[in-house]
Each structure stands twice: as C-alpha cells, then as structure tokens.
Amino acid sequence: MASPGVRVLLLLVLVSSAHGDASGINRTRGNRTLTPEEEEDSQQHHNNTKAFPVLSFNFEHVRKPFEISLWILLALLMKLGFHLIPRVSHIVPESCLLIVVGLLVGGVIKALDSDASDTNSSVPVLNTKLFFLYLLPPIILDAGYFLPIRHFTENLGTILMFAVVGTLWNAFFIGGMMYGVCQIEAAQLGDVDLLSCLLFGSIISAVDPVAVLAVFEEIHINELLYILVFGESLLNDAVTVVLYHLFEEFSHAGTVTITDAFLGVICFFVVSLGGVMIGLIYGIVGAFTSRFTLHSRVIEPLFVFLYSYMAYLSAEVFHLSGIMSLIACGVAMRPYVEANISHKSYTTIKYFMKMWSSVSETLIFIFLGVSTVAGPHVWNWTFVIFTVILCLVSRVLGVVGLTFIINKFRIVKLTKKDQFIVAYGGLRGAIAFSLGFLLTDTHMKTMFLTAIITVIFFTVFVQGMTIRPLVELLAVKKKKETKRSINEEIHTQFLDHLLTGIEDVCGHYGHHHWKDKLNRFNKTYVKKCLISGERSTEPQLISFYNKMELRQAMMLVESGSLAVLPSLTSMQNIQPRDTVKQRVIPSISKRREEEIRKMLRSNLQKTRQRLRSYSRHDLMMDPFEEDLSEVKFRKQRVEMGRRVRLTETHLNVHNSLSFKGMVSQMGYSMPLQGGERKENKQMKALKMWGFIMFIFS
C-alpha cells in the first residue's frame, strides 16, 4: 500500500541508520519518541542493540487534532443516524437527540475513566473559550447573514422591546423571587445573597439563539413569529453581557450605589451601539474589498468569513456585544458583496456557512450532554424547582405585559396565539450554561450550574418536543414556501413609493420616509463606492429580475430538459417567414455574457455526459437544492411551455436564426439527438432557448 516514494524514503533511512551517523540523521527521521537521553544512548551504542522499529506507535503527536476530528465525526454520524430512524426524528427535535447522545458519550467516557487517576481532564467539558470563540460565531454569522431584513426592520421596535425590556424584567423578577425563596428557612439556602441571585437571574433570563434556531427551524413557522423570537434572542445579548458583568463586579464589591446603576445603563448603550458600530465598519470594509476580487474569485468566500470573524473578535476585545457586531457585519456586507462576487462564490459562502453552523450546533448540544455528566452537581430541590417555575412564569408575564403595551403602537397587532408562541419559544441554551461556567468558583457555582442545566433540559426537551404539536393544534400560520414572484416585487416597490408619497403629503415623517431616504442615499453614494463595474447603477428591480431568470434557466438546464436540443441540420428545415425583420441581438455587457457563457457551457456539458442513460425517472436531483421537487419542476415546465406558446406571438421564428447565431458564437456543436423526439418538442425547446437568451440580453 505504501507508495514508491515512501519505500525509497524508508530505504534511505535504513541505509543511513546502518551507518550509525550522528544526531542529525536521528532528527531527520522525525522519531520523536526518542528522548534526548535515548538518542545519546543509541549513539553511544553505535550499533543499535534493539531492532529498528519498522512500525512505531506515536499517538501524542497527533492527539489533539485526532480527538477534535473524532468528535466532529461522531457528531455528524449521529446526525446522519437520526434521519435513518424516521419516527423518532419526527417527534423529537434534533437538539434533544443530540443532548441524549452527549449524555451517553459522557457516561461512557466517565465509566471508562473511573479507575484512572485523573478523572476530570479526560472528560471534555464545554469550556467557555471553546464555546464563545469557536462554536458560537458560525451559528450567529449564518443567522445574521441570511437574516430576513425586511421583516426584521419592520418589527424592530417590537423586537427591541422584547429583547431589552423583556430580558431585564426576566432577570430582575427571577433574581428577586429567588432571593425570596432563599430566605425560606427550610431550603437551607440562607447564604445566597441578593447579588448572587440577581447574577443568577441575569444568566438564566436570556433566550438562546442556538436553541431557538434548532427548534424553530424544524417547525416552519411564519416569518413574523420567527423573526420576533429569533430577533429577540440575538439582540438580548447586549443586555445579558451588561447585566452579567455588572452583577459580577458588584458581587465582588458587595454594595451597589446609584452611580453604579447609572453607569450600568450607560454601559448598556455603549455595549450595544459599540458592537453594532464595529460590525458596520468591518462590513463596509469587507464590501469594499469584494469590489476588487474580480481576478481572484477563489478566495472571495474567505473574505466574508474572515471579516465577520474579526468583527466578532474585535468586539469581544472591548467586552462589547460580539453577537450584535457579527449580525451588523453580515447585514451590512451582504447586499454589496452579493452584487460583486461570482455565482459560485455565493453558493460556496452559503453552503460553507450552513455547514459550519450545522457542525457547531451539533457539537454544542453534544457537549452540553457530556458536560452534564462530567460536572460536579449540587442538587437542591427547592432551588431547582423554583427556578424552573419562575422562568416559565416570568416569561409568560413578560410577554403578555409587553404585548399589551406594544400593540398600542403596532399596525398589525399580535394575537393571543402569537403571544403564546413567543412565550413558549423562549428557550434557554448553551449560552446560559457557558456564562454559568465562567462564574468564579464559589460553592454556589455548582448549585447554579445544576439549576441552569435543569432549566436548559426542561426548555429544550419539554418545550422543544411539544411545540410542534402545539403549533399544529393552534393552527398557527406556517411559512410560505414559494419564492417571491416578480409581481410581488414590482407591486411592493410600487406600494413603497406610494406610501412614501402619501406620507409626504401628510407631512408625516414615518417609516417609509426614512426608508426612502436611506435607499436614496444608498443608491447615490454607497453603491458607487462598494459595487464594482456597471452593477453599481443597476436598479433593484432589474437585479431581482435577472437573478430570477438565471435561477430558472439553471433549473431548466440542470434537469436535463435541454437534451431535447435539435441538431443543426434539422434547424435548417425550419422555413423562415418572409416578413422577417433583421433583429439586432441587444448587446449585453461583456462580463454578463462571459458569465452566461461559462454557466451554460459547464451545465450543457454536464447534460451531455448524463445523456447516456437519460430518463426523467432516473435523474438524480437533490431535493433540497433550490427547493426543487419533481412536481414543482413539472409545473414550472408547463408554465414555461405555456409562456413559450404565448410568446410565439411576440417572437417569431426568427428567433431560431438568432439562436443559430448564438450557437455559432459560442463555437458549439449541439449533440445529435435521436429522431424519437417529436418535431414540436424541438420547436418548443428551441423557442425556450431563444426566449432565455432574449431575456439575458
């Protein structure tokens, strides 16, 4: 199995060692199991007394990467495994299953290590640095980059209310009530002081984005509710950071003054706005960089990832809110980067982000399970039970109370059903655990950790499992699956302009007015700086339309319908009409032409290869790619066919000539197809092609 090169190497080594040369050779062998004394020994013994180790075992050398890879592999195999058991994965959300796996793995490791001397170190725990620096950013970046901006900005007020006021309410309510509980004689918790309780409250009060994502993604709820809960979980990071640091400082200092409270408020603004600012700066710089990547397309995705990660780390340096910085960076960068980068880079970015965030999420839940088994636990019935109950109660009260106030300002009010889902979706997760882990080692820490883990388990298992049937039961609106149509885009823009105009007539500087101003500013100044080439002046409608057409053309090509392409000879049989007008093919920009050409060429070649065993039923289409399903696609083809028939009135057969022109332009020879295809299908495909090329012009 060893390649010739390796054999030569071995031979060389053997020869050189036989000569028994100096220490230099020993080092080049790279045999690090030899300690310096042993090396000297072997030199002194000139001719080695023991045989040359042909096969040696050296694990320490690769221990760390090996373990990491093994963990990740295990996590992903588990993920695969769940989908093989359909019944279970339908009832139990993935996060629960992963935690259970983590528990099992942790149990196994602990059992294996129970006789070893050093029990703690070999059970890997979700240590804070690992979590905050490596596992959390990919998930947040994925969420922030693909955040539905329109819904987010429309509901920003509501989200902020829930995030800021809601979290504050939760923290103080839980903290205060727990202090009250601790005063009960029977609980033996008399030594837990108010500040510690408040600290605990601030840790446990925050809704966790990872858990929310994990659960909400599977239930496909409508966008409004999704963005409310998810947006809240993202934006409450600033509050959590401030409260946590505040109470931690105070619990050391011991007393709180009014100045401290005031400083805390200022700190909140600094943390949140500073985080956003840093994110915006990195985002703009990233967008600017992407302007120049024309000649190095391969590294484009890396820029997106690195700038975002740097934004996160820079914010963490100053103890600002890293999550908000990451979100701001992604949001700021996205429109400009997407206009600049190639289609392949866009796909790469999308899939890499999804991949990383998926791996991170899996690892987080498994580690949660493992850490539960590993960590020392102090179980105090009163404390834990009351924590769980108070979390639920405070969440419900908070949501109901805030909705009452918020509904006075909203156009579309939140119904009771919405409120229930928002309250029920307040899941706690790994962030709470990691923050708890960060606490200084007092004897209360273990008790807190136990309570935190219990709450996390409760929310993830009980609430996570029951939310799906509840959603069905309450008939909550689900997410609409279809992509935006050109009609919706046009009419929405139309309505935007209309509303802006009406607002101006009323003299009312509302939502639309500022949005319009921002768009105008964006169009005149920002786009010119950050987008390269002529895309900078392209109106939004046109780029939307082009994207849509590109997507449809690629769907058509990938499904192999272009196998119906006629041969050149049969095209000559088509009689051109007499009233043919010389239609000039409208010129398209060189870059666009190149892109289209490349894309068509690569896809058409693929088609040619696939043609050997082509039948529509054999065609392998990844059902998750582009939301494509056979039924939908057939519907689309019918539509396209209908459209082609309709456009026969607009485009006459002359299109076939332009098609021919295009074909010769591309230096292509179409594969000859068997005569089993009927003539009209050829015509249809021909016209479809003509239409597509026409669109691209």
Binding site: V412, I486, T492, F494, L495, G501, G510, F694
Partner: protein
C-alpha cells in the same frame, strides 16, 4: 391674512368626515392644519400646484400619479373632504372594526379598497385592466432611464404572464388581488397616524 372664517372647520363637518372616513377628532384637526398649510391660495381648496410644491413628492417616481389620485374625475381643485377621503384609504385597519357588523358600504380603508386605490394608480384609462403599456409606463418610472426598452418589455411580459389567469394579456383587479394575497397589504398600505 384675509378672512378665513369661511374656511375654518365646523363641528358638523368634522362629524361628517368622521362618519365617512373613520378618523378621530384629533386626526382630523391635525390633517386640517396640514391642509391649510399646503393651501397657499387660501381658498379652501388645493390645486395641483399646491401638491407639486411639496419637495419630496417631486422626486418620487409616482409623484404625478399620486397627485392625480387626489383629484376627482376631471376637476382641478380638491376640498378638504376629498382630501380626507383619499387619505382615509391609508388608515390602519382596526381590530374592532372587523368584528362590527359591516356597514352599508365598505369602509374606505378595507383591504379591497386599499388595493383598488393602488390598482387605479396603475390603470390610468379606468378600463379595469392593467394593460402591458400601462405596466410599462409604471416600470419605466420606477426603474429610471438607463434600462433598455426590450429589457423592460420582457419584465412586463413576464409579469403579466405570471398574473394573468384568464388569458386576456392584462391584469384585472381580481388577478391583482390574487397576486398580492401573500403580501401583508394591511400593514403595507397603512400609515400610523397619530392617535
């Protein structure tokens, strides 16, 4: 300043406008002060020039059409009543209104009436159909001058094909409603007036 006694708002008028449009007292007075500030001629009506004096409306792509929507058929002046009637389309739909027994005529700010207002802005010749040309005009206004006619034409064609269900190559009002059924029109076409 001239005698403006005849143009001051009387209580009966306020009541009538309230009944017709559903605005509250404070909203009506606030909008009346806006009306008078726009009315430079001080004759109790607004002309097209008064609207065109609003700076933001001049740069709005749909500015002219919006102005036209305020003026009833063939007239050049609009009084406060007409002003309010047009603005009533943009009042947010209240929850309690949904539960009330529907009045004899549908309130001006119902979803259908909002969409009808938007539809009329497309459909200039009032034939209850958005033809390809009308659509092209709107697209040209929104997109600017840099895009070629052919590109716009293909977008218009695509739009009509997507929406057209009865094959008449234009968008009727019912087709218009159907296309926008996923868009949250109640939120999109409402302005949060001060309470």
């Amino acid at each position: 300043m001239g005698s403006r006694a005849s143009t001051l708002l009387r209580e009966e008028e306020i009541e009538e406008i309230k009944k017709e449009t559903g605005f509250s007292h404070s909203q009506i007075t606030r909008l009346y002060s806006r009306f008078t500030s726009l009315d430079k001629g001080e004759n109790g009506t607004l002309s097209r020039e008064d609207f065109q004096r609003i700076p933001e409306l001049a740069i709005n792509p749909l500015g002219d059409r919006i102005i036209n929507a305020f003026f009833p058929e063939g007239e050049d002046q609009v009084n406060f009543r007409g002003f309010m009637r047009t603005l009533a389309h943009f009042r947010p739909i209240e929850d309690n209104e949904k539960n009330k027994n529907p009045p004899t005529s549908e309130p001006l700010n119902s979803r259908t009436n909002k969409l009808l207002f938007a539809f009329r802005l497309y459909d200039l010749d009032r034939d209850d159909k958005i033809s390809r040309d009308e659509l092209l005009q709107v697209l040209r206004m929104m997109v600017g001058v840099n895009i070629s006619d052919e590109q716009l034409g293909s977008i218009a064609d695509r739009t009509i094909q997507e929406a057209d269900t009865n094959g008449d190559n234009s968008i009727s009002f019912s087709e218009f409603i159907k296309v926008l059924e996923k868009v949250d029109v109640e939120q999109k076409m409402s302005i949060r007036f001060l309470h």
